[in-house]
């Protein structure tokens, strides 16, 4: 899905153009109004999350506004379970990203470059993996762990996350690989480069945008996953799991530290995206100029 986001953004960049023929037509405001209303709706819960991270409340329920305070930012790590859960989420996402990106990249390269017996069945396997409902992926894995008596915890979460991420990396890399000119690799070999040198100096740099998109997608999927994780976590908590549990225990209210962590992650994401955006734009200007 996020790979789709990447493609959408790329297309948008390519087609960013001053509007053609600005005619005054009756009802031109309807579409923009709809668009902005939808955006407002998408941002509503995030606005609430950010605001209530500054709420000066006492007691258990962060439900009514009681004045501005930065105390939750100062006591961000006061809840040790929550902090552990966040640390788990971050380290799991990092490990999963490394494993799934390597495995998925190899798979995508093979599918994009070679015609081989069995390629069809591998494609089918990827399609089934992407199309299968998350709850079924989680439940099937749980069935296996229960049957074999494998204790669930940190590493079963890693296994599950790698399992649902490989296909996304493979598909993004495959698309990139299929668009690559095979003559480049041949040229490298003609110039005396061995397979390893060819891979690191020619193939990998060309595939990099696809590999990076796949890695980012994997990180995002892993850190936000609830359903599959909830089936295979044992006693290990991740950030979404902890938030869900706290909300269930506490009548729908979560401690303000959750709001603050959400706000900081959101801010970090925005920062990374804006920097990427600016760099991309600068590159484009350089390339065109």
């Amino acid at each position: 899905m996020t790979a789709l986001a990447g493609e959408a953004l790329e297309l948008a960049e390519e087609h960013n153009a001053p509007q053609r023929r600005r005619r005054r037509v009756h009802g031109r405001w309807v579409l923009p109004l709809w668009g902005w209303l939808v955006l407002l709706w998408l941002f509503a819960p995030i606005g609430v999350m950010i605001v209530f991270g500054f709420n000066n409340y006492t007691g258990k329920f962060n439900t009514t506004w009681q004045g501005f305070s930065l105390k939750w930012y100062r006591h961000l790590f006061a809840l040790s379970d929550l902090t552990t859960a966040l640390e788990n989420s971050l380290s799991i996402a990092a490990i999963v990203t490394v494993i799934a990106t390597i495995l998925g990249t190899f798979l995508g390269m093979a599918l994009g470059k070679y015609r081989f017996r069995g390629a069809g069945s591998v494609n089918l396997l990827l399609f089934a993996n992407i199309a299968a409902p998350e709850i079924v992926l989680g439940a099937a894995l749980l069935s296996m762990f229960l049957t074999l008596g494998i204790p669930r915890g940190y590493w079963t979460i890693v296994i599950a996350h790698v399992m649902f991420s490989i296909a996304y990396v493979a598909v993004t890399v495959k698309a990139r690989m299929a668009g690559m000119d095979p003559a480049l690799e041949e040229a490298a070999r003609d110039l005396g480069a061995g397979p390893v040198t060819t891979f690191f100096k020619v193939t990998l740099p060309m595939l990099m945008p696809g590999v990076l998109a796949g890695a980012l997608l994997t990180f995002a999927l892993s850190i936000d996953d609830y359903i599959i994780t909830s089936f295979n976590n044992g006693n290990t908590q991740t950030f979404p799991l902890w938030v869900y549990g706290a909300s269930q225990r506490n009548g729908g209210s979560v401690p303000a530290q959750v709001n603050v962590m959400g706000t900081l992650i959101f801010g970090f994401g925005v920062l990374v995206a804006v920097i990427g955006f600016a760099m991309n734009r600068e590159k484009k200007v350089r390339d065109n100029g």
Binding site: A8, L11, L42, F43, I46, L107, N123, S253
Partner: protein
């Protein structure tokens, strides 16, 4: 000779690690789940394989209400997503001008925040005495007992909210590929704006709409987080039941059978859908 053999084996070496991971942690577990679904027994004495297929019919008899509800919620949410998403995608693709990337980026921005937090935040916004309902009740716009949470409206609303980008993106990509020259051609041929839309833009965007339906319907119908956080006892979906059977009742065979029915129903639907449209296309649109 050795080199040729190596070259022929190259794709297999590349495929092998990922293939093994998927077989061991996706295919084999699915088969084990199938086998568990026909076992009988209980947690204390253990489960034995007895090929007890009636777990399927019993499961269906006991929980068909939740199955049907999941499909209905899934369909309603998917249709709402399409209705909301299509104009937004159209707006960005055809009227975004210089701001296309920015608008698209704004659309994806909320998804930096974990979906559990955002759903939980909706619970807070819509709560009975929360920031929206409390003033409305105070001014007697709504009755004292009016509530949104625990109703199908809240659950479907949450589903639409959470899965909207899965609908917008494929439609946007399809619309972006429509050549503007075609629109000019249609207007040269005296088509008015409405005709140009129904005869040119809409048919050309259909692959995007199909991919959007696929990407939205499957996760929506099998979700249980929205039903738990925003719903009540009368809005439980099949996902909630599977979860309860595993973790509260420890009735693994029933849970496995229900998961299998869900997967079979959705996968058969998806494959039939993909067949009609060509597998590669849908796979590419869905996963790209």
């Amino acid at each position: 000779m050795g080199a040729r053999l190596r070259a022929r084996l190259a794709p297999y070496w590349l495929v092998l690690p990922a293939w093994l991971w998927l077989v061991i942690f996706f295919v084999v577990p699915t088969l084990i789940m199938l086998s568990v679904s026909t076992m009988t027994g209980n947690l204390l004495d253990g489960f034995k394989q007895t090929f007890h297929w009636s777990t399927y019919s019993d499961g269906w008899d006991a929980y068909h209400v939740q199955f049907v509800r999941s499909i209905v919620y899934g369909l309603v949410a998917t249709v709402l997503c399409l209705v909301i998403a299509y104009p937004v995608a159209y707006w960005i693709a055809f009227r975004g001008g210089r701001h296309k990337s920015t608008l698209l980026f704004l659309l994806l921005l909320p998804f930096f925040v974990s979906f559990v937090i955002r759903t939980q935040s909706w619970n807070f916004i819509l709560s009975d005495n929360g920031i929206v309902l409390s003033p409305l009740k105070h001014w007697h716009v709504l009755g004292k007992d009016y509530h949104v949470l625990q109703t199908p409206m809240a659950v479907v609303g949450g589903l639409v909210y959470n899965f909207l980008p899965f609908t917008v993106l494929p439609i946007y990509v399809a619309l972006e590929r429509v050549d503007p020259a075609l629109l000019e051609a249609s207007s040269d041929l005296y088509a008015n704006k409405a005709t140009a839309f129904t005869k040119v833009v809409l048919p050309l965007s259909m692959p995007g709409v199909f991919a959007a339906v696929l990407l939205t319907f499957v996760p929506v119908a099998s979700d249980y987080v929205n039903a738990t956080i925003l719903g009540g006892p009368k809005t439980t979906m099949i996902g909630n039941i599977i979860q309860t059977e595993y973790f509260t009742n420890s009735d693994y065979p029933t849970a496995a059978a229900l998961s299998f029915i869900l997967m079979a129903a959705l996968l058969i639907g998806v494959f039939a859908y993909a067949r009609v449209l060509g597998t590669e296309d849908v796979l590419e649109m869905a996963a790209a």
